[in-house]
């Protein structure tokens, strides 16, 4: 039963990920990537990482992708003419994507697939266990990353803030 669900989720994830990059319509791309997120959340559930699955859906599918969709709908990218890409841009993107792929392949290749095998702790993915780890053992990195987010947010606010041309009412 579980393995059937696994195969189904994996197939959906791969298929929709491919559809994301292959579909011409940007709105369709966003919808496909949402399906991908859902199937990945399903994988988390299978691994008994309920908290991670829920947060994955809330944050990625529920917030970030809604914003993506929002922007794409607002700009209505369908009607825009395709911008001409220069050759050097194409070259750059191929090189960077190739490098990323190299990193990922080597990382996956080095990791032994069976490392986590064995009987995983039933409560490992639950909220309580995750909270203990985050706020006890890794408190400093956690807080540092939150400061990183905060600075990114301040930067975004600063960039979007216009000089007031007219005095506020």
């Amino acid at each position: 039963m579980i393995s059937y669900i696994f195969w189904f989720l994996s197939f959906t994830a791969v298929f929709s990920a491919l559809a994301t990059i292959l579909s011409k319509n940007p709105v369709h791309s966003v919808l496909y990537i949402i399906v991908t997120f859902f199937s990945i959340a399903g994988h988390y559930f299978l691994l008994n990482a309920q908290f991670l699955a829920a947060v994955h859906i809330i944050v990625y599918a529920g917030a970030i992708m809604v914003l993506f969709l929002y922007v794409i709908m607002m700009l209505n990218l369908n009607r825009l003419e395709k911008e001409k890409t220069q050759n050097w841009m194409k070259l750059l993107s191929v090189v960077s994507a190739g490098l990323l792929m190299l990193v990922m392949v080597s990382a996956v290749g080095r990791a032994s697939l069976m490392a986590g095998a064995g009987q995983p702790d039933e409560t490992m993915g639950l909220t309580q266990a995750l909270g203990q780890v985050l706020y006890r053992d890794y408190l400093l990195p956690f807080e540092l990353s939150s400061i990183l987010f905060l600075s990114a947010m301040v930067g975004a606010v600063y960039l979007s803030k216009k000089e007031p041309t007219t005095p506020p009412l």
């Binding site: 809330i58 599918a61 529920g62 969709l69 909220t127």
Partner: protein
Amino acid sequence: MEMLTYKILLCVIVFALSLGIAAYMTWGERKIAAILQDRVGPNRAGPLGLLQPLADGIKMFMKEEMIPGQSNKWLFILGPSFFMLTACMTGVVIPWGSGITVGDTVYPMQITDINIGLLYLLGVVSIGVYGIMIGGWASNNKYSLLGALRASSQMISYEVAMGLSLIALVMTTGTLNLGEIAAQQDAGWANVVYQPLGFLIFLVCAFAETNRAPFDLPECESELVGGYHTEYSSMKLGFFLFAEYINMFISSAVMATLYFGGYNFPFQHALGLEGNWLAVVQTAVLFLKISAFIFLFMWVRWTLPRFRYDQLMNLGWKVLLPLSLANIFITGIVMWLTGKLG
């Protein structure tokens, strides 16, 4: 195996119940609107107009089905279906009662008692907006698109404050499990006593998330024709309207469970009722609380005028968000002072 059958049965019951209650909420809404406006309301179909939902349903099914020629047909159909699906999904984590004991087995009145109940709720609420967005975009109509954009920005803005107001609640209860939160309120006070501000924020956000007046900007008849469902007709329109009522029902249930003691009521153990009878009375009390919230939803709708878009955004980001953060802060300090921090 027996438990699985029971759960499936409970699933069907909750599903049917949400649909039935949503149907009668349309009747209730019209009746309440009429009463608040010194009118009589539907009174032709059956006694007191009680068959009106049936007539409306038949009408919706019989209406001509229209799909705009320039629209994206698949997405056009997917939109309302998805909206309806997410509306129906939330009911599974709500504890509808304390549980009925037959022989040695206890049959809980909750479909699934998952550990992350609250997060599940937030997750489903956050993806609920896709139905509106997809439907509004696929209609290929400017009004629909504007309605969809408004819906998405509104729901995202208010989700933040909603989640933060729930965090303060989670701090006091110490669990994300809705069953446990409901059970905790048996012994002590209802959570609204500890979290009055949190409840208020949650209430306002619930109004915004269900697209109810005064936050019904996405469908805003006076400016956007029908908002995101301008192009919809027949039962697809019915799905959009119906899902709104289901959302309202579920959010009333959530508020009753989280803040008003769920199925518990004061002095319930002093009644001297035997276990199963108490459970039945408790479920009835929960539904009474839910009806009270539904009435509040409708009462507010027929009292307050709609917000303007900038007022909506100001309220969400500049008022509710800081308030909910302050609420978390105050809750933390009080818990620290009273020594409740573990």
